[in-house]
């Protein structure tokens, strides 16, 4: 079975995002970029399934500008067999991303697609669900446990009420939550090996993807700041302060 993994590059989770003073975007020049943490988890899960003999090939895919190569090399160094780079200078919205991934799915015929549950830049949490809908296949979102047996998978999902378990027929789309696994670190020799692994590049325009970027972002603003409060010296003072505010 082949597994296709979405592997998006985003601003690193440790960066404190600044909004540009003119409200036209956020500052990304010179800012550290990394794999979306949830996509690293998705890739790790695919690699483990390959190591268990469930999967035979792990393919990572990313949609983005020409300079994504180094990012894809990281995914290959982590252990993916090959990469697909859909080249487009412009960021695409989730519906367009899902339609693009569907083209790759039709070509690659994976038995499983694993994506991160959300990308930590736009925090949309949509692409996996949209891909599953367009592909007319099952979805198991927010997965914290994935067991594949034959042509079925049992997935535990982190939901508001607790842990939900569902059974899905394959092929299907699974989206990774934080506790699915802990991604491995890349080792130096693997970086050398990754240099020989293939990266297919496809021009976005040649895929004939129907544009789904229906939303226009007209302004970016910094969130309202919470004002800095006061320090209290002990528990008694804290309780008194809360009582005075009518909170206790």
């Amino acid at each position: 079975m082949k597994i296709l993994v979405g592997y998006k590059r985003v601003v690193d989770f440790n960066v404190r995002i600044q909004v540009k003073p003119d409200g036209t975007g956020v500052v990304t020049d010179g800012v550290k970029l990394s794999a979306n943490p949830f996509d690293d988890i998705a890739l790790e899960e695919a690699l483990r399934l390959r190591e268990k003999g469930v999967a035979t090939e792990v393919v990572i895919a990313a949609i983005g500008p020409a300079d994504l190569t180094a990012h894809l090399r990281n995914g290959l160094a982590m252990g993916a067999d090959r990469a697909i780079h859909v080249v487009t200078a412009d960021a695409v919205q989730p519906l367009t991303a899902a339609r693009t991934l569907l083209k790759l799915v039709e070509k690659e015929q994976p038995g499983l697609v694993i994506l991160g549950k959300q990308a930590i830049d736009d925090d949309a949490n949509q692409t996996g669900q949209m891909l599953a809908a367009l592909w007319d296949r099952p979805q198991a979102t927010f997965a914290s446990k994935l067991d594949v047996a034959g042509d079925k998978a049992t997935v535990t999902r982190e939901v508001d009420a607790g842990l939900e378990t569902i059974e899905i027929d394959l092929p299907a789309v699974v989206t990774a939550d934080l506790r699915l696994n802990e991604p491995r670190f890349i080792k130096l020799p693997d970086i050398m090996k990754a240099k020989k692994k293939p990266i297919d590049t496809i021009e976005f325009a040649t895929l004939g993807v129907e544009n789904g970027d229906h939303l226009k972002v007209t302004h970016y603003a910094a969130p309202a700041k919470r004002s800095k409060g006061v320090m209290v010296k002990d528990a008694a003072e804290l309780v008194a302060a809360l009582k005075q505010k009518g909170l206790l």
Partner: protein
């Protein structure tokens, strides 16, 4: 004029209050009508509750055995069919809504606006990106139906009105897949207030140190009548179950009082509590970033402070 369809979330025959929050967001768009769609095996109790929410014009029900559990693959085709004639579909931004709404949106060929925190008018919305470190104004394309999930913490629940809206059974010609099957839900039922709607929340972090130690957080919460939350680190370490995680990738909450105990205040955690009324931080590290956002900060060892707090509370 717009017509808004709100998708009801429910569990064990009860309407989730997030539905009434989505109705509040719908009212802000000043639509001609707001209908609530209840997809359930048995809809009667849920639809009666939904009909009482102020501002609701009609409650539409689809009762099918397949709707017994909230499976997105089963519900989305029904939502897409039911959406015909509406300008907007609003769904609570809970794990239920996050799962099903994008699937319905894709079936409708529509983009989705996630986590709507403000409605300027029927075509202009505000939502957070980058863990809430930027807020964007989004304009929709009038050629498409608007599908949106509604950020719980930004909206009060619409109150109950004087009259009940009529309930109508709907028959939808939607083929439902059998490829996705519900196996079970393991939920840590407790008598404590619900984390997502509680007025007071006490959260513990890695500083609490162990599953056993977490008892002192539960005890303090019980004394205050508060719900209990946790940081990711506390959940990852197995102190508490995942449904207690507060933050960017856990629950986004807006209690009147939030107490962060042994939590450093990483941006991913702070995203979840930005809208809290009053934030209290207890941490032994005076430099912890949580103090930047706390209304009241207390530096010290939580194992010493919590018992003192309990004494002071009487």
């Amino acid at each position: 004029m717009s017509k808004i369809l709100v998708i009801a979330e429910h569990l064990d025959g009860k309407l989730n209050p997030a539905t009434a929050r989505a109705v509040s967001a719908a009212k802000a768009a000043k639509p001609e009508s707001i209908d609530v769609l209840v997809l359930a095996a048995q809809a009667a109790g849920i639809s009666a509750e939904a009909g009482k929410i102020d501002g609701v014009s009609r409650v539409l029900t689809v009762e099918r055995a397949e709707n017994a559990h909230p499976l997105a693959a089963v519900l989305a085709p029904q939502i897409a069919k039911a959406a015909a004639g509406y300008s907007h579909v609003f769904v609570p931004s809970t794990t239920f809504g996050k799962d099903v709404a994008p699937r319905a949106a894709a079936l409708l060929g529509a983009a989705q606006i996630s986590d709507v925190m403000a409605v300027t008018d029927a075509t202009h919305f505000k939502r957070p990106i980058y863990a809430g470190n930027a807020i964007i104004d989004v304009e929709t394309d009038p050629a498409h139906i608007v599908v949106a999930t509604i950020r719980n913490a930004s909206w009060p629940a619409a109150t109950n009105g004087a009259a009940s809206a009529p309930v109508e059974a709907l028959t939808l010609d939607a083929a439902l897949p059998g490829h996705t099957r519900f196996v079970g839900l393991q939920s840590g039922k407790s008598d404590r207030p619900d984390l997502q709607s509680a007025a007071k929340v006490v959260s513990g972090g890695r500083g609490v140190g162990s599953k056993e130690n977490f008892d002192i957080i539960f005890k303090l919460a019980d004394k205050l009548g508060a719900a209990v939350g946790a940081s990711r680190a506390a959940v990852d370490a197995g102190y508490v179950p995942s449904d207690m995680q507060v933050g960017q990738t856990g629950k986004i909450i807006a209690p009147e009082l939030y107490m962060a105990i042994g939590i450093s205040g990483a941006i991913q955690h702070l995203t979840g509590i930005k809208d809290a009324g009053t934030i209290v931080a207890i941490n032994k590290d005076a430099e912890a970033p949580i103090f930047e956002v706390a209304d009241f900060g207390l530096v010290g060892d939580l194992f010493k402070i919590i018992p003192e707090l309990e004494t002071a509370l009487g």
